[in-house]
């Protein structure tokens, strides 16, 4: 099935589903290892760099209590959060990790923007 580009549908944190805000540019960085070539005077050689896999700019609709719950679940050191996001076509990115960034709560819109950082990477399940 071809991918349907578009807004994110929803996101789930520890089994609780939150509606994603439409027309928000969510980014997925799911490349665990980056390869670079190091140049020397003679031949170049390859270098592998491990980098963070994350879902950024994830803007979710939640009420103040839910925002508090999200903050609390992220404060438990050593306990990973189970995270998944559902794309417009129903495909899903799923992983475990922490919330690297939690924005301030927007009372006017009832939203909060998150950055989900995975322990390793996110698994993609096609629609």
């Amino acid at each position: 099935m071809s991918h349907v580009a578009g807004s994110l549908r929803e996101a789930s944190l520890n089994g609780v589903t939150y509606r994603a805000i439409a027309d928000n540019a969510v980014t997925v960085q799911n490349i665990r290892e980056k390869r670079e070539r190091v140049l020397t005077r003679y031949s170049s050689f390859e270098k592998s760099i491990v980098q963070e896999c994350y879902i950024g700019n994830l803007k979710l609709e939640m009420d103040p209590t839910e925002y508090d719950n999200v903050k609390t679940m992220n404060a438990r050191i050593g306990e990973n959060i189970k995270m998944s996001i559902t794309l417009a076509d129903g495909a899903m990115y799923k992983g475990e990790g922490t919330l690297a960034e939690i924005s301030e709560y927007d009372l006017m819109e009832g939203t909060c923007t998150l950055k989900c950082s995975a322990v390793t990477d996110f698994a993609l399940f096609a629609a």
């Binding site: 789930s12 089994g15 589903t17 959060i81 189970k82 559902t86 899903m92 698994a123 399940f125």
Partner: protein
Amino acid sequence: MAIEYKISEESAKASIGAFLESYDLSWEDSRLFLQIACTDLIRFVRLGRVEIEVENDTVKVSQNLRYPVFDVSRLEYGELIGDHKRVVSKNANPDSLTDRQFVLLAAMAKEDVKLFYKLRKSDLSAAETLGTIFLSL
């Protein structure tokens, strides 16, 4: 082919009894649907599909999936707290029992609710049985 049970009926009943006791309930509870669900649960516990551990005052219920979904083969339901019920009233369709069951189980297992939409055969039956019990507690 006869079904092979891993656990005896007495042991299964004992673990479910301990589970009910931790919620101040008993087998003779007046609510009929809870009795029916617990009778169904005996079969799943005997088959090893559902595991119940009661230690001191902590209840641990887990479900082993015969058909893994999204690479998940074991669901561990944490202790039922008010927050889980709150999620049900906010996110689930109040007219749909299945929806309420799945939203509650998803919150307890910390898994995406869509995992429950894809459960098959006895995994689905076991989840619905557990959903009925947890909703009635």
